[in-house]
């Protein structure tokens, strides 16, 4: 077997030299063979995703080398990296990352257009991939019309668009029910066994290692051990005790952080990824830490605005002044409205029968801010009812966009899809801390719509 990926003494820090420095990857020195099905396995925060970002050239590491087919990608120019990411690797994301305004067919065809394939040819090829993933009848549908499992299959089809030899899957089963997760696992296995592609998965769930041939165990940014075996036997030999230990560590971490702060961290990450789309990983990480500081009231809104406006080299994020102002106002809105939602929850807690429509009306204007259309009285009534039902947990997070988008004669609110999506995102952000019991997780839903 030939080595397709060789990682030599890689060290990666976020915010190196700053008080918030994170040593995300420590002296990583491993090889992955061509045709392997490998997994990076470990608890949250162990550096698994950073490893994928280093392999795919998304994160630039400060020390070491990542060799793909004997060529060091740390020396590639941005143009070369962009082409490598389009042709050399296909990435399957936990949050699917489909473009909401494009049909399934166009989502799959998109990476082909980036490398100069004509739109006619791209759609012909996309159709073949969609068929392979059993999604023919959904070709003209939009991502929001599909279940999580179907969206993830679109994500796999898109990852295959330019026929890359390496498939990288970042917690691909994280948002799926068990049936959908099983289907996705079957496809990953097929891409490895039938196509001969090298598949690399990041996961913290032991059961998803079923078909994996090599496991890299990770902890605190380091690979602590490597287990290689023939197909299937690795997962079965995976010590139950070890998995339990890892699970306990996960829980312990959660307790150490405190449940509230953990959720805040999550929403800070969601916000950072949303508001700073297109920025570098370093900028996003730093922004995230400032959002957390603001959530914790360690800094006020003025300090927050100054920090995100300040040049990156001086410890800021380097946002333009106007963007910094807009982002600050957006964040303050969330903080403010979270208090309103807390108040609403306290009302429900005391008397679940009590109407909360008056209180919902109080957050309506913030939710629809920026909406250019005018809501009719009927739409306002429906809107308030939907928000009220969502707060009470009667409507799951993943149905909100659909109901807001549905026409009024079908008992929806009749908003455009884009407006429905933006409003749903804002709503989930202010609910983030308060309804951890709801299913699915609101923050996940927000990320899905990005």
């Amino acid at each position: 077997m030939n080595t397709i990926i060789k990682i030599e003494n890689v060290n990666l820090w976020y915010d190196k030299g700053k008080p918030i420095e994170v040593h995300a990857l420590k002296n990583i020195d491993i090889s992955i063979e061509k045709g392997d099905y490998a997994a990076f396995f470990g608890p949250s925060g162990c550096g698994k995703t950073s490893m994928l970002y280093a392999i795919s050239g998304i994160d630039r590491f400060q020390e070491g080398k990542v060799l793909i087919n004997d060529r060091d990608i740390s020396g590639l120019t941005n143009q070369e990296l962009a082409i490598f990411r389009q042709t050399g690797i296909g990435i399957v994301f936990q949050q699917f990352n489909l473009v909401p305004s494009l049909s399934v067919l166009k989502n799959v065809a998109l990476p082909m257009l980036f490398v100069g394939v004509s739109s006619v040819k791209a759609e012909i090829e996309a159709q073949k991939l969609i068929k392979r993933l059993g999604l023919e009848k959904y070709a003209d549908r939009y991502p929001y019309e599909l279940s999580g499992g179907q969206q993830q299959r679109v994500g796999i089809a898109r990852a295959l668009a330019n026929n890359p030899p390496i498939i990288i899957a970042d917690e691909p089963l994280g948002n799926l029910d068990s049936v959908s997760a099983k289907i996705v696992l079957e496809f990953l296995k097929e891409l490895n066994e039938k196509d001969g592609r090298t598949v690399i998965m990041v996961t913290h769930e032991a059961w998803s290692l079923r078909d994996v041939k090599t496991i890299f165990y990770m902890k605190d940014g380091a690979v602590t051990s490597i287990e290689k075996s023939e197909k299937g036997s690795v997962a079965s030999s995976l010590s139950k005790k070890l998995y339990e230990q890892l699970s306990i560590k996960d829980e312990a971490l959660g307790e150490a952080l405190g449940k509230g702060s953990q959720e805040e961290r999550l929403s800070a990450r969601v916000l950072a990824n949303f508001l700073l789309r297109g920025y570098s990983m370093d900028e996003i990480k730093r922004f995230e830490s400032f959002v957390n500081d603001r959530f914790d009231s360690k800094i006020d809104n003025k300090e927050f605005r100054e920090l995100i406006n300040k040049p990156f080299k001086e410890g800021g994020v380097g946002l333009w002044k106007k963007k910094a102002e807009k982002v600050t106002i957006y964040l303050e809105g969330i903080i403010d409205k979270r208090k309103d939602v807390e108040h609403i929850f306290s009302i429900i807690e005391k008397n679940p029968e009590l109407s909360i429509l008056d209180e919902v009306a109080g957050i309506r204007n913030w939710l629809i801010e920026g909406y250019t259309g005018k809501l009719s009285p009927q739409q306002i009534t429906s809107f308030d009812q939907v928000v009220s039902d969502r707060i009470r947990g009667f409507i799951p997070a993943n149905k909100i966009v659909e109901i807001l988008d549905l026409s009024t004669n079908k008992f929806g609110v009749g908003l455009s899809f884009r407006a429905a999506q933006l409003i749903a995102e804002k709503l989930e952000l202010i609910l983030n801390e308060n309804n951890s019991e709801s299913e699915p997780s609101p923050s996940n839903t927000f990320e899905k719509t990005l």
Partner: protein
């Protein structure tokens, strides 16, 4: 499967678009074919000619964008195409060079150009927009089958 075990097959891509040059070269790398093919690139006919006359860099096969612009020129105009096609003729008429395969690799798919290129001795005609990345490797393997 390696087309040649010992000596790499030398491919020269002539294209004025730097993204296309990187893309073409790196497809062979990402698919692990750097042990079979050595890809060199030129952004103009003039630059290519220097590589062709040098023994060290003389290619086995040339992929030529017939729509390519020369410095100061306009892409795809007739004069430009004619100039690029005359390069094909020059190579094919030179007894030291005529064994070099020339593949027209561009976005132009008019039959007249294809016919003209063929008459001048071009060995193949590929339309960029109709090729998936891996198709370029498969085509290259096919035209070098006899080297196996």
């Amino acid at each position: 499967m390696n087309v040649a075990q010992h000596k790499k097959i030398k491919i020269l891509l002539i294209d004025s678009d730097d993204m296309v040059r990187i893309y073409f070269r790196d497809i062979f790398w990402v698919h692990g074919r750097s042990d079979t093919y050595e890809i060199t690139m030129a952004s103009s006919i003039e630059e290519a000619e220097k590589k062709i006359i040098d023994k060290e860099t003389k290619p086995d096969t040339i992929f030529l964008d017939v729509m390519m612009t020369s410095p100061g020129g306009r892409s795809g105009n007739d004069e430009q195409i004619k100039k690029n096609l005359s390069f094909v003729e020059r190579i094919k008429k030179d007894k030291d060079m005529s064994s070099i395969k020339i593949i027209i690799f561009s976005n132009k798919k008019e039959e007249s150009i294809k016919e003209e290129a063929s008459k001048l001795g071009a060995d193949g005609f590929l339309v960029k927009g109709e090729l998936m990345p891996k198709d370029i490797i498969d085509f290259t393997d096919k035209i070098h089958e006899h080297n196996n």
